[in-house]
C-alpha cells in the first residue's frame, strides 16, 4: 500500500504487543473482559463492513449469522453433548454459509432499499425461531448449561485465557479480511459498489460477486457468534435481534465504513461507552443515538475518515499532488454521477 510501510509495521507491532500485554498489566478483570468483547464484536462489525463499506450492501441480516454461530455452539453442547471446539466452529461456519447462500439469493432479488427490507425480514425469521421455538432454542430464556472449552494452548475458563483466544481469532479474521479486501476479489466488490453497470459491461457477474460476499461475511459473523456463546456460556435471542443489527451497524458507521480498523474501533467505542456511560447516566442509548446522528450527517466516513481528512490536510501543506488512492470508502456518500 501507499505511505510509509515501515512506520505502519512499527505501529501495528506496538499495538499487537500492547494487546498481548494487557492481561498482564494488572488491570481490573473488568477491563480485560471489555476488551474481549471488543475483539468479538470487532470480528462481527468487520464482517458487516465487508458488505456495507466494501460491497455497498447494507445488510440487516448479519446478526442472524452471528446468532446462528452462537446457537450452534449451545445446541451442539446441550442437546448432542458435542463439545469439540474445532468441529463446532466448522459446523457453525458451514450452517451460516448455507443459510447465507439461501438468504442471499432471496435478498439479491432487490436492490438498495428493497435489499434492506428483505434482509431485515430474513433476520426476523431466524430471530423468530430463536425466540419462539422453545423446545429447540429455549425461547426467551435462551440456553445455558454449556461451558467454555480449552482450545489448544488457551485455558479459556480464565479471563486471560479467553482474552487470548478472542485476540487470536480477531487477528486471524483481520488478516483474512485484509487479504480479501486487497485481493482482486476485493477490488471487484468495490467496483460493484461504485458502478455496477460499468462492472457488468466489463463482463463481471455483479450478482455473483455480491452473492459470494454475503456468504463470506456470514462465515466471519458465525466465528464471532461461536466466541460470543463460549464467552457468555449463554445464548439468547437477543444476540440475533434487531438491536444487535442496529448496534453493529452503528459500530461500522461510527468507526468508518470501507475500512477494517474502523469497525473494530467502533466496536471498542460501543463496548466501552455502554459500560462507562451506563455507570454515569442511564441515558447512554440516547447519547449514542445523538452521536450516531451527528456522525451520519457530518462525518459519513466515521472516525477513520475524520482522521484521514486531518492527516491529508496536514500533508497538503507540504505538497499539492493529487492523493494516490488507497481503498476509497464513502459508501454512505451520495454516488457520484447519475448511476441508477
Amino acid at each position: 500500500m501507499t505511505g510509509r510501510p515501515w512506520s505502519n509495521v512499527a505501529i501495528i507491532g506496538a499495538l499487537l504487543l500492547l494487546a498481548i500485554a494487557i492481561p498482564r498489566l494488572g488491570l481490573p478483570a473488568f477491563y480485560v473482559s471489555l476488551l474481549t468483547q471488543t475483539w468479538i464484536y470487532g470480528i462481527l462489525a468487520m464482517s458487516l463492513d465487508l458488505l456495507v463499506g466494501f460491497t455497498g450492501l447494507v445488510s440487516f441480516m448479519q446478526a442472524a449469522f452471528f446468532g446462528i454461530g452462537a446457537y450452534v455452539v449451545a445446541i451442539a453442547a446441550t442437546r448432542y453433548h458435542f463439545t469439540d471446539f474445532w468441529l463446532t466452529l466448522l459446523i457453525a461456519i458451514l450452517v451460516a454459509a448455507v443459510t447465507a447462500a439461501a438468504f442471499a439469493a432471496l435478498a439479491l432479488r432487490a436492490e438498495d432499499v428493497g435489499f434492506i427490507i428483505i434482509t431485515l425480514a430474513l433476520n426476523e425469521i431466524i430471530w423468530g425461531l430463536a425466540y419462539q421455538w422453545v423446545s429447540m432454542s429455549g425461547g426467551d430464556n435462551g440456553i445455558t448449561g454449556f461451558l467454555r472449552v480449552d482450545v489448544g494452548p488457551f485455558h479459556t475458563t480464565g479471563n486471560a485465557g479467553f482474552y487470548y483466544l478472542s485476540l487470536t481469532a480477531l487477528i486471524v479474521c483481520l488478516t483474512l479480511l485484509t487479504l480479501i479486501v486487497r485481493s482482486p476479489f476485493g477490488l471487484v466488490l468495490v467496483g460493484a459498489r461504485e458502478r455496477p453497470r460499468r462492472m457488468a459491461a466489463l463482463g463481471y457477474n455483479v450478482w455473483l460477486f455480491r452473492y459470494l460476499a454475503l456468504i463470506v461475511a456470514a462465515m466471519f459473523a458465525a466465528v464471532a457468534g461461536v466466541l460470543f456463546a463460549y464467552y457468555n456460556e449463554f445464548v439468547g435471542p437477543g444476540s440475533l435481534s434487531l438491536d444487535t443489527t442496529v448496534q453493529i451497524l452503528i459500530m461500522v458507521i461510527l468507526g468508518g465504513t470501507g475500512t477494517l480498523i474502523g469497525p473494530l474501533l467502533g466496536a471498542g467505542i460501543l463496548v466501552f461507552l455502554s459500560n462507562a456511560l451506563s455507570d454515569i447516566t442511564q441515558r447512554w442509548v440516547l447519547i449514542l443515538g445523538a452521536v450516531y446522528v451527528v456522525t451520519v450527517m457530518y462525518a459519513p466516513d466515521g472516525i477513520v475518515g475524520l482522521v484521514k481528512q486531518l492527516a491529508a490536510r496536514a500533508r497538503s501543506r507540504h505538497a499539492l499532488a493529487p492523493a494516490a488512492g488507497s481503498m476509497p470508502s464513502a459508501a454512505l456518500n451520495p454516488r457520484e454521477g447519475p448511476e441508477r
Binding site: V58, V113, G128, Q132, L242, V246, V293, L332
Partner: protein
C-alpha cells in the same frame, strides 16, 4: 377447536391488523412519495401510546388522549423531517440510517420519561365490556378498533383519489420532476405526508394500546411487522397496506394459536417467498 375458536381469532387478527395498518399506512405513504424508509415510524407509535397514557391517567377522554398522542408524534415527526431528513432526499440510504438514530433517541427518551415497566392502556368505557356470543367471548373494543381503522383507511383512500392535494401527491409519486415542473410545491406535499404518517402512527399507538400495551422495545418488535406489510402490500400502495395489515394480523394471531413455536416463522417465511417471486409486492407496481 370449534367455530368459536376461529371467529375469536379472526376478530383478534383483524383488531391486530387494524393497529398495524395505522403504522404501515404512514410507512408506505412516506416511502411511496419520498423513497425514505422511516425506521422511526414505530417509535412514533410508542410515543403516541405513552403521551396518550399520561393524559388518560389524568382522566382525559380516551379519544382526546389518542388525538393528543397523534399530535405530539406529528410535532416530533415534523421536527425530525424538517430539521434533518429533508436534506437527504437524494440519498435514501442516509435518510434511513438517520431515522434509525431517531428511533433510538425516541425509544430511550421514552424510557427516561415513562420508565421501563409495561403499562397497560384501558379501552374507553363505552367499549370496555366484552361481547358474549355463545361460546365466543371477545372485547367490544376489538370491533371498535377495526371500525375506526377501516374508516381511516377509507378516508385516506378518498383523500388520495378525490382531493386536489391527493392528486398532487399521486402525481409526485409518479414523476416528481414533472410535478415540480408544473409549478406545484412538492415540498409541501413531503411535509404533509411525513406529518400524516407520524400522526397516524401516534394515534395508532394509543388506540392500539389496549391490545399491545406500551413498553420500551415495543417499537422494535413492531418494525419487522410493518416491513412485512409493505413487502406484501407493495411499497407505496395504500390499499395494499390495508389488505396486508389484515393478513399479517390474521396470520400472526392464528400462528400464535396454532403453532406457538413457529408463529414468527409463519409470517416471515411467506414474506420471503413473496419477495422472491414478486419483489414489488403483491399489490405494488413494478418501478
Amino acid at each position: 377447536m370449534g367455530n368459536a375458536f376461529y371467529l375469536q381469532n379472526v376478530l383478534g387478527g383483524l383488531a391486530h391488523g387494524s393497529l398495524l395498518f395505522l403504522i404501515a399506512a404512514g410507512f408506505t405513504l412516506i416511502f411511496g412519495l419520498m423513497r425514505i424508509i422511516n425506521l422511526a415510524q414505530t417509535a412514533f407509535y410508542l410515543l403516541g401510546a405513552y403521551v396518550g397514557l399520561s393524559l388518560g391517567l389524568h382522566g382525559v377522554n380516551f379519544w382526546v388522549s389518542g388525538l393528543a398522542g397523534g399530535i405530539v408524534a406529528t410535532v416530533v415527526g415534523l421536527a425530525i423531517y424538517g430539521i434533518f431528513l429533508h436534506r437527504y432526499h437524494a440519498n435514501p440510504l442516509t435518510a434511513l440510517l438517520l431515522s434509525l438514530g431517531f428511533a433510538l433517541i425516541i425509544d430511550d427518551g421514552s424510557l427516561a420519561i415513562w420508565g421501563g415497566d409495561p403499562q397497560s392502556i384501558a379501552p374507553p368505557k363505552v367499549f370496555a365490556a366484552s361481547i358474549h356470543f355463545g361460546n365466543l367471548v371477545f372485547p367490544e373494543y376489538w370491533l371498535a378498533l377495526v371500525v375506526v381503522s377501516t374508516v381511516i383507511a377509507a378516508g385516506l383512500l378518498l383523500f388520495q383519489r378525490r382531493t386536489k392535494f391527493g392528486a398532487i401527491i399521486r402525481a409526485a409519486v409518479d414523476d416528481e420532476e414533472m410535478t415540480r415542473g408544473l409549478g406545484i410545491n412538492v415540498n409541501r406535499a413531503f411535509y404533509f405526508v411525513f406529518a400524516l404518517g407520524a400522526f397516524l402512527a401516534g394515534l395508532g399507538g394509543y388506540l392500539g394500546g389496549p391490545i399491545t400495551s406500551a413498553y420500551p422495545g415495543l417499537d422494535g418488535e413492531l418494525l419487522p411487522l410493518a416491513f412485512a406489510i409493505v413487502i406484501i402490500g407493495g411499497m407505496g400502495s395504500l390499499e395494499g397496506a390495508f389488505i396486508a395489515s389484515m393478513l399479517i394480523g390474521l396470520v400472526n394471531t392464528f400462528g400464535r394459536a396454532l403453532f406457538p413455536e413457529l408463529s414468527y416463522f409463519t409470517i416471515f417465511l411467506p414474506v420471503a417467498i413473496i419477495m422472491a417471486i414478486r419483489p414489488q409486492g403483491l399489490f405494488g407496481r413494478k418501478t
